[in-house]
Amino acid sequence: MSGAVQSRPLMTLRLSTAPTQDVGAGPHGKRITFPIIGGSFEGDRLRGKVLSGGDDWGLVRADGVIELDLRITLETDDGALIHMTFEGMRDDAAPGGPYFRTLPRFETAAPKYAFLNRLLAVGVGEIRAEGPVHLLEEVL
């Protein structure tokens, strides 16, 4: 990073989604919900699968930006459960190309992964044919 903040890779998160639920126009914008039915994550310090039952609640604002609000549960390969949320922003019409960034947060009771409770993270997202892929970095 050229700015003051340093980061390092945390994980690559791949999500599988069910058909989008187009809720329609609400008081804050157009609501679209992306159900998450599975996926996987992998990094130096943790890996495992995404449990089904999560969602990403999207809100299309009047200025065209989609605000994202994700909640999922991760299960590590050694059986720990991790509650993960992110708020994010997707601006497909950004001047420099699509802007898809997120701010993930984690909660876990597993001592081995308690470091996740104490960090902030940034994600760079990308929509691929098989579903969204997020490259998550820990903010150092």
């Binding site: 700015g3 003051a4 994010g88 950004a94």
Partner: protein
Amino acid sequence: MQSRLLMTLQVAVAGPQKIGAVPHGTRVTAPIASGHFEGPRLRGKVLPGGGDWTLLRGDGVLELDLRVTLETDDGALIHLASFGLRHGPPEVLAALARAETVDPATYYFRTTPRFETAHPKYAFLNRLLAVSTGDRRPAGPIYTIDEIL
């Protein structure tokens, strides 16, 4: 991950309001009395009336929830809301509690500011995410805020 400097933000904290033990931890609210911000694309002052709603969790991590209004030097108002985390070695946190100046590299103080404005000149702020590094000074924190590119 790429980023670039958005601004440095310095706020002055008024007397903390110690709410005490609440269901999620120990809550202290720090009203913001004033401040200023400066970056390549915007500069101005912090209006009085904001605050940082802090919660000390059971695991020793301080959660921060800052809300302030910025006023640019050309009169635009910008709503800033920022979630953050602060933690570090006990002796470093004790020095901070004694209002000493501490090397910010010795503890973790990071936030993720979000902006909202109605002013067209600053509408780019509505469309970006940011990360900041905090430096807790006796008079109040200084945040170096980077735009996530």
